[in-house]
């Protein structure tokens, strides 16, 4: 098939459109819908696609940036839960993980003497995967999220929610914790 190569595309009023610095040119979205509970307070990876290191995006140019977004639905059992979430990335499926501190976030849910509550928390960050790495065109950039509970209020209850006072493992309202990766075009 023939390809037309140009340096710019404009509308009939003369405004340039097409790819420009910062434009989103692809979006990948990953969902985790199961309920996951953990009573440890030390740092560990989130379950499934949120923490197994397989959530990735393949950039079209090693100049492009990535916008990272995540939403976590943090449930609760009596009395309170506070969790810190850390975000990591790496190029390819091997090698060490790099911290993406800019995307880290937290959640707190507190109701005395009652169960089943939930708090939705989210984050957004933009970064350059090439800076400080050997990323090249066509590389997959992978992400994972870890969690760490407050010493005195341990326990992650991801996607657990119920309108009754119960500790039952139910996702009554079909919550999905998500990770969204977008590629941002960069001219140089």
């Amino acid at each position: 098939m023939a390809k037309l190569k140009v340096n710019g595309v404009t509308d009939t009023s003369g405004n340039q459109y097409g790819f420009r610095n910062g434009q989103i040119i692809q979006v990948r979205n990953y969902l985790y819908t199961d309920i996951y509970e953990d009573t440890t307070t030390s740092e560990r990876d989130l379950p499934g696609i949120l923490g197994n290191g397989l959530a990735g995006i393949k950039t079209h140019s090693n100049r492009n940036h990535i916008q990272f977004e995540a939403t976590i639905h943090a449930g609760q059992n009596d009395t309170w839960r506070t969790t810190g979430f850390r975000v990591y990335w790496r190029v390819g499926q091997s090698g060490s993980w790099n911290a993406l501190n800019s995307a880290n976030f937290t959640s707190t849910t507190y109701i005395q003497g009652s169960h089943g509550h939930s708090r939705s928390t989210s984050t957004i960050a933009q970064f350059d995967p090439v800076a400080g790495s050997s990323a090249s065109v066509g590389d997959n950039v992978y992400f994972k999220i870890s969690f760490e509970g407050h010493n005195d209020g341990n326990g992650l209850h991801i996607n657990k929610n119920h309108s009754s006072n119960t500790t039952a493992q139910e996702n009554s309202y079909s919550f999905a914790s998500t990770m969204t990766l977008s590629e941002l075009w960069r001219d140089s």
Binding site: T106, Q126, N151
Partner: protein, 181 residues
């Protein structure tokens, strides 16, 4: 230089639009603050520290009729017993006067244990009146509840502590995206 002038770019198989301007996010910018910052004056209305409140958070739209998707992301810490924090949002054109817009948000934390933390993230589509080439700046102001309004920005300990630590190195930020029309 070759330039193609068109109102849409279609793919050959079914004439679906693969490139257009309207509704696209055409640029993004983020401005961050990662230090721990405390304000212990409850009802004191103040600009947020660093790029969150000094007017450095700007975006210069490519087009003269774009809208700006403003996102404020604030990590609110806490010390016993409770903290309620409110945030107001403003924009200005170039170095003009600040205009408050309906983009405020709030945070509430309550516990007898120190160092709860909650990330608050709110997005608003803002439609400022500006001319092509103008810079649009944004800032956030804070005021606390009269009875428990201390601000503990980015104070995250994950233990029963009032230390000024940010143990997960989280960044509060203003995130700006131009949405072409």
């Amino acid at each position: 230089m070759s330039t193609v002038i068109a109102n849409a770019v279609l793919r050959p198989a079914d004439d679906k639009v693969i490139l257009r301007k309207s509704g696209c996010i055409v640029q993004s910018a983020q401005y961050e603050y990662s230090s721990v910052y405390e304000d212990l004056n409850n009802n004191n209305l103040i600009d947020m520290p660093g790029d969150l409140g000094n007017g450095n958070a700007t975006i210069t739209p490519y087009f003269g009729d774009s809208k700006i998707l403003f996102t404020g992301l604030i990590h609110c810490g806490h010390q016993t017993t409770w903290r309620t924090n409110f945030f107001r949002t403003f924009y200005r054109i170039n170095s003009g006067s600040w205009t408050q817009f309906y983009g405020g948000f709030g945070s509430n934390l309550y516990s007898g244990t120190n160092s709860m933390s909650q990330t608050i993230k709110c997005s608003y589509l803002v439609s400022p009146s500006y001319s092509a080439g103008n810079s649009i700046g944004f800032k956030i102001q804070h005021i606390g509840h009269a009875n428990g309004g201390h601000l503990h920005l980015n104070q995250i300990n994950l233990s029963n502590s009032t230390a000024n630590n940010n143990v997960i190195n989280a960044h509060s930020k203003i995130y700006l995206q131009e949405v072409a029309q």
